[in-house]
Homo-oligomer: 142 residues x 2
């Protein structure tokens, strides 16, 4: 498979490059939303931290699987977004998994620096919500 | 908001119960999709395993925050789904976080038994895809 391209710019990988098309067996399992996208959870491979959630279409998934760099599709900008090209904080792919329903991707990565554009390590760091803690001792009801 | 139903089934918690409405400060931060939903990543609080991804509308989030039991909205069945009511494998809430953009929820839970309807501990267990491993030594390019 190939680490082939990326001569020209941050986003120079495209389907005209000599990378394989997405495996038909994988394609057949994907259940995309109306916009052709799947949510993709990025997790730090060793610590288990959930870093962020991005979106992938078939092509972003293909790039992620074949280049070693997590690549998403930006819903707001409607373009591919290879994590780290702008920020300098890439995600090196360690493992990619599809869930049982074929509608969610889990990308285990080695995140260089902060994952969040705010400079935080994860996008969830500052977002703690007040909540009741579940109490198993209470039985079936909380 | 709305969707105040679900008397009959396993999911009898509803907003007529004496639980508070969702905090307006939280509501103001939520960026929902066209269907009014946010993806919610469920993570085992101590091991860090990503268990599954579900969807929450405002009401599912409110129930999750106020009852101690992770509650989702089923896109296929168009109804609330309190994890464990059918399977016997509840998710006891430990912590709930909203991401920097207000468009993703992270629910840290204590998952009883398997999270996946297939009987696997997580929904990603059997879904490993073949991929290139990212190589930081290759520099900025993969």
């Amino acid at each position: 498979m190939g680490r082939v391209t990326d001569q020209a710019g941050p986003d120079a990988l495209d389907s005209r490059d000599s990378l394989d098309a997405l495996d038909p067996a994988i394609l057949a399992r994907l259940k995309r939303d109306a916009a052709g996208l799947l949510p993709a959870v990025a997790q730090q491979w060793d610590t288990g931290e959930v870093l962020m959630l991005g979106w992938m279409d078939d092509e972003a998934l293909r790039r992620t699987l074949t280049t070693g760099r997590a690549t998403y599709f930006s819903r707001s900008r409607q373009e591919y977004w290879r994590k780290g090209d702008t920020s300098g904080h890439p995600q090196w792919v360690r493992e990619v998994r599809l869930d049982c329903d074929g509608d969610t991707v889990l990308v285990k990565v080695d995140q260089v620096g902060p994952a969040c554009h705010t400079g935080s390590r994860t996008c969830f760091e500052d977002g703690l919500l007040a909540s009741v803690t579940g109490d198993p001792a209470a039985g079936g009801e909380a």
